[in-house]
């Protein structure tokens, strides 16, 4: 079976600005888009650059924009597309380093801002701390995040304001604010309760549409919003 990939290319050492290039390759219907990229890389142009590692949607390396939507290249197959003309772009609105590789430094800097680690102010017991199944259930979804960046890069609020913390960072804040073992709720809420934090989220739900781990990020943000608003009132 033949598919045509239209890939956005950019080599900082050669190109003034990004351009598109088409590659027609022979594939099986069960190929992942990642396999298609490999095929282009191995058979046609060794210079094509993209990140990848686990190849089954768990490491979060290969988020990119495929046919106008952010997804993991290793989590979609050729047969999932009706048209065999597939457009591949890097994650939108992040600085492109080369081809499909974007600069994630800003994304991770925002992750670090929300104090993404357990802060416990009490001495732990000799064995484990107890946590009820109900308390654990509160963070069931949030701990699945693989930091792929698909959500933040799909958020219109972030496109227009790159200081916005973005859904991924705030989901991480949720993960700790709602962990019954954590003692630093207030500090973390201070970080997200800022004009470039929670209040830039307009419940657009793009993040939820793209999350490869099917996390309902907006629901988590709404829980944080309520907590912050209650604090103010």
């Amino acid at each position: 079976m033949k598919v045509t990939l239209s890939i956005k290319r950019f080599d900082p050492e050669k190109d003034e600005k990004p351009y598109r290039k088409e590659y027609t390759i022979d594939v099986e219907p069960t190929f992942r888009i990642l396999d298609c990229l490999d095929k282009v890389k191995w058979d046609i142009d060794g210079g094509l650059a993209y990140r990848r590692s686990c190849s089954h949607g768990i490491c979060g390396s290969d988020a990119m924009m495929i046919n106008g939507k952010n997804m993991l290249a290793c989590q979609v197959l050729v047969q999932d597309f009706k048209k065999k003309y597939i457009k591949i772009d890097p994650l939108p609105s992040l600085p492109i380093i080369k081809d499909l590789i974007v600069d994630m430094d800003g994304f991770f800097a925002k992750y670090e801002v929300v104090k993404p680690y357990l802060i416990s102010k009490t001495q732990p017991p000799v064995k484990e701390r107890y946590q009820s199944q109900e308390d654990r259930a509160l963070i069931d979804e949030a701990v699945n995040c693989i930091l792929c960046g698909a959500c933040s890069a799909s958020c219109p609020s972030l496109w227009s304001n790159d200081a916005y913390l973005g859904p991924a960072a705030m989901l991480k804040a949720y993960r700790f604010v709602f962990d019954s073992r954590d003692d630093a709720q207030a500090e973390r809420l201070d970080v997200v309760d800022t004009p470039d934090g929670l209040w830039r989220c307009h419940t657009i739900f793009n993040c939820v549409e793209v999350c490869p781990k099917e996390i309902n990020i907006t629901w988590h943000l709404s829980q944080l919003k309520k907590k912050c608003a209650m604090r103010e009132l």
Binding site: S160, T194, G197, W199, R200, A229
Partner: protein, 118 residues
């Protein structure tokens, strides 16, 4: 990373967020009432007499005042929210903020003046 400093007014946005929703919900109720009234009984909205009659009742006066106040606040706060979605230089943002307050007050007084004159 401390670039996430705030610009514009001093609060974080939490209160505005809350009030935007509350005012919205009150507005739905008021608006639906307003619409039905205006168009279910066309005369009541479009003749001087009917309007006068309503404006003389304290109840309707109250409703209209709420409408003007909440509508303006909700609309302008919403607009301010839209503006804040862009990463403007602080002085630009602050200038717009002041202008919007002035604009809001002006229209509020005009509206108030009309309603309270009768």
């Amino acid at each position: 990373m401390n670039t996430y400093k705030f610009f514009g007014s001093r609060n974080s946005g939490a209160k505005n967020w809350y009030l935007q929703r509350i005012s919205g919900i009150i507005l739905v109720i008021v608006l639906i009432g307003h619409y039905v009234l205006m168009h279910a009984t066309p005369d009541s909205g479009h003749t001087y007499k009917a309007v006068m009659e309503r404006l003389h009742s304290p109840f309707w006066k109250g409703i209209d005042l709420t409408f003007v106040t909440l509508g303006l606040w909700h609309g302008l706060n919403g607009t301010w929210n839209v503006i804040r979605d862009y990463h403007l230089k602080p002085w630009v943002a602050n200038t717009i903020y002041v202008l919007m307050i002035l604009l809001g007050l002006t229209f509020w007084f005009i509206g108030l003046n009309t309603i309270l004159s009768f």
